[in-house]
Structure formats: C-alpha cells, structure tokens
Amino acid sequence: MDLLQSTLPYLISGISVGGQYALIAIGYTMVYGILRLINFAHGDVFMVAGLVMVYLSAAMPLYIAIPLMILLTVALGFTIERVAYKPLRNAPRMSVMISAIGVSYLIQNLALYITGGLNKNYPAIPWISDKVTIFGMETTRVTVITPFLTVILVAALVLLINHTKIGMAMRAVSRDFETAQLMGIKINSVISATFIIGTFLAAIGSMLYFTNYPGVVPTSGGMPGLKAFVAAVFGGIGSIPGAVIGAFIIGICESIIKGLDTILVVNGVITEQVGFSTFSDAFTFALLIIVLVFKPTGLFGEKTTDKV
C-alpha cells in the first residue's frame, strides 16, 4: 500500500487532536506565564465542560446549552482561582501547586459522585459531527474544522494580547509580577482575566474533543490536560504560538505512534506487531523530559535567570 495513503488517516486525526490540545494548552501557558503555577485543575475543568454539556443538552436546545456551558465553565475557572489560588498568593509555590492538585482531586471526586462513575455520552452537535469525505477517507467534520478554528482563535488571542490594554497588563505581569503591581496594574483582575480566557478556550476545546471522542468520565480530563501542559512546555512556557505548535506536534506524534505497528507492517518493515501503541502516552512525557533537560526554555521560550 502507498505509504502516504496508509499514513494519511493518522496524520489527519493527529492534527485534529493536536488542535484540541492546543486550546487546552493555552490555558496552561498563560497561567504559568503569570503565576508560575502548573494549574493541575485545568484538565479537570475541561472535563467538567464536557459533563455540563451532557446535562444541559438533555434539558434544553443546543443553541442555549452551548453558550450556557461556556459561561458555566468560565465561571468555574474564575471561582477556582478566587477560592483556591488567590488566598495563597504569598505562600510558597509548592503550596499553590498542592492546592491545584487538591482542586483537581475535588473536581474529579465531585464528577464521580454526580455521574455515579459511569460513562456519559456526549451529545451529537449537528453540522460539526456530520460525516465528510476528505482525500478519500471518511471522517467527521469536526476533525477537519478543528485546526482552522484553533488557528483563528489563537490569532484573535494574540491580537488581544498585543493590542489591548488588558493584554498589555498581562504581558507586564508575566514579565515582572511585583513591578507590574507597583506600576498600578490591578493584579487580581489581570489574573482573573487570564483564567477566564484559559477556561473559555478549554470549553471550546472540550466541545471539539468530546464531539470527536464522545465519552465523558471523571478522569477524561487528566491525560489531555497533562499532554496539553507538556505541549506548553515543549513550545516554551508562556509563549502562545509555542504552545499551539507544541500541541500539534504532540497530537500528530501520538496518533502516528498508535498506528506505527500497522504502518510498519503494511509497508513490510516489520512482520510482527511490536506494541508501540503502549507508548502513545509515555512518548509525550519522554519528549517533555528531553526538552526539559536539553532546552528547558522550549522552542520559543524566553531565557530566564534565577534571582538570588
């Protein structure tokens, strides 16, 4: 079989999942840029967005459910910051990270309680979950539109950060937290805005992701969340284009690895299955460690120096 023809489905599904990771990764990278905090709960917020959609769509038409879901998710992100991170602003970084892990634990357990630990089926959203044929392979429309939607949203975000007042404040805060505060920037509202933007994008990402993979369980957010974080580190934490490129690379690699056995067998390189797909998650972390060890600032990150 033609190499390209057999690899294409993996590439396309990789690009699609990469776009979804990208939307989550932005939340990580922005929060880390400003607070130097790995927001472990971000992946779980993404999962909650999925669950909220499941419950809302059962009760009301989609054109109300979707905006309401986004609104509720954003409210959750905002609340988490106010309740769990703001009181610890002057605490050691470890305490905040522990708080983030605690929030993640709480959200997962709440979701477990509410869903009874059962898989919830994500509603089919008309149009984007329709079938389409692209390059001779059949897939859903969401696979095709995700990368474009991601690029549009990111472009809008970059414009916002570079050309608005709040964007300027964000840049200032991420450059130097204390000085920005002294210059009269309202730190708390900047941080809140960051969380709002991050969770907004995660909500959109969750809509695309769960339309593609329509099962929501309490642990659904964990792995995509971690992978998105790795994408953010890979691209250079704090850098939005970096996070997006990192996410696409990770999405594509992951998808190829899952199909690597088949690709190699079909093209006659190996005759027996090796079991590469076992490493589809582990690969992401291997990539992370390589980046951290050899180029800790990532692809596009700025050099930072530790102050004594």
Binding site: M94, I98, V103, L106, N109, L110, Y113, G117, D281, F285
Partner: protein
Amino acid sequence: MLQKKDNKKNFIALIVVALFLALVLVLDQVIKPTDKMSMLLTVLQKGSVYALAAVSMNLLNGFTGLFSLGHAGFMLVGAYTYAIFTIPAESRDTVYQYYDAAIRVSFPEVLRSGLGSFGTVLGVVLAVVLAGLVAAVFAWLIGLPVLKLKSDYLAIATLGFAEIIRAVFQWGKLGPVTNGSNLLKSFERISTFKLTVGETTIKMSTFVPVLIATVCIALIVLLVNSTYGRSFKAIRDDEIAAEAMGINLAKHKMISFVTSSFFAGVAGATMAMVLGIAQASNFKSAMTYEILLMVVLGGIGSITGSVIGSVLFVAASEWWLRGLDSGVFLGINAPGIFRNGFRLVVFSVIIMVVVLFFRKGIMGDKELPDLLKPRAKKASKKASKKEVTK
C-alpha cells in the same frame, strides 16, 4: 545532660513502639476475617503501606524541598520486583498464562528448602530489600537528568517518568518478565504469613506490614537526624546558602532522591503483599497525588504527621466514612445523598480546607514527642487522642 535526656526519650519511644507491635500481633490472633473489627486490621495493613509511602515522600518533599511526583512509579517498580521474585514455581505458569516466564526464582521457596519456615521469612525480607534496591537504581538513573531541574519542572518531569515506567512495565514485549499488562498474583502475601510453632499457628498478616513500615520509618528518622538530614534541611531552606556552606547540592539531592525511592519501592512491595496482587495500571499518578495529600494533611516536614495523616486517611476512607457511600451515616438515612462517591467528596473538601486554611496540616513541622514536652495540659490531650486512635 542533653545527651542523657535524648537517650531517655529514645528509650521511651522504643518501648512505645514495641508495645504497639505486640498489640498488633495480639490483634492478629484475636480478630477473625468475618468479625466486624476485621476492618481495623485492614486499616492497619493499608495504613502502614501508606504511612511508609508518605514518610518516604516527606523525606523528599518536606525535608529536602524537592517537589517530586514520581512516587507511584517507584512503588510500581518495588511491587513488581517483590511479586516476580516470590511467585512459587508451581503457580508461575498459571500467572504467566500468555508468556513464557523468564525469571523462575522464588526467594522464599529456594530458602525454605534449606532453612524451613525461617527461610520463608528470610526470602520475603530479601525480596522486599531487592524491591527497594531496584527502585533505588531506577531513581538513580532518573535522578541524573532531572534533579538539576527547578521546583515545578522537577515535579512534572518526575510525574512524566512515573508514566513512562508504567508504560514500559505494561509493554507486551517485556511479558516474560512483567507478565505484560496482566495481573501478577499468587506470590507470597500477608494471608500466607504464618509461623507454626509446634501445635499453634501464629498469624502475622497484619504484623508483617506494620513491622516493615515501623523499621523503615525508624531508619528514615535516623537519617533525618543525621548530618545528612541536616544538610537536606539546609538545602530545603536555602539552596544557595547551603551550597555556600559547602554542601554538595547534587550529591545530597541524589542521596535524598534515591533513599526516598528505596523506601517507596519497599512501600510498593508491602502494598503488593497486602493486596495480594500487583498490576501496573493501579499505579497511576492519582496514587501519587493521594500520598501527597496525606503528607499535606499530616504536615509537610513532620514524620509523625505523615504517619498520622496516612492512617487517618486510610481509616476514614476504608472504614469510618464508608457509611457516606452506602446510605446510612451517623444514623441518618438518606440514600439520595449518601450514595456512591459521597465519601470521596467529603474527603476532598476536608483536604481543601486543610490546604487553604490549615496550611501546616495536623502537625506542622513538629513531631509527636515535641508536642508532649512543653505543657502537661497539652500532653494529656494528646494522650487521650492516642487512646481514640487505638
């Protein structure tokens, strides 16, 4: 003078621990599995596993200030090593049902043929120590690249390594060693720990895990109180100052990381013998988070705190708060609210309250004996609390 006082303190501590161990041994004989109180044994068994895991994590996170999230990975390595080296020959082929087992040595079995029931004990001990050593070797290899990293990068890198370890152990090609992603079972486990003296059989199902945890925690206490321990604390408090004082950062960080992983490996081995099974898919990062929360609950930087935190955590989740999941709690019958999962919600809320409002946890960075000293009033309260624990 000070020395004398310390000696007296150590002596008292030793007696308390010995009494506690004796009590556990008695409980082991008295309580049958079908009794209501058998949950107490379960709590003691699992509590000791988690106490050891929490204390070893505390050594790293609380005493050395290295925020590592790779604990589940090292426990996995320990559990697998222990399991693989204690599966008896007759069960090996049923356990490795899809593979041809590569390692065909069972320490307890080999030693039993020469030394009788004492050989079994020695074999188990050897396997446990080996479990720790293998985990330590893994830690050393991982430590080389990652220990240079700073706080949260270290956390995420160790977390990543734990996930990589999990994937490797599940890989089908390693099946002859690890049984692929399938269960390891039929190895020496607590239900088989018995000592036969003449006519009487002494059950040691709970005694063994408690003993292992006690010995290991005592070793960690000794380490923390040694010069190494003081160096660790110096690194935690101020890395740059510590380096200026002539402490070799890389060396001490590595010692702390490897030691902590050694005990994590032992905790993993103990967990395998308590559960009676070992499977890679159980050692997820969620397990690390849970252990971390136990440490936080007990107080980062307090060994007795970690022990109390983890025993409380296990007791509440396995025993006291079970009612929250099954409809009736404290005599209130509300199946609509007290249904599956509510216990964990209550639990996580308690933890968030501790994280946000009592950041020092139960013990702060103090130890139980410290609290007994200053005022008699406090001492009596602690003593009464201790009674409740028992």
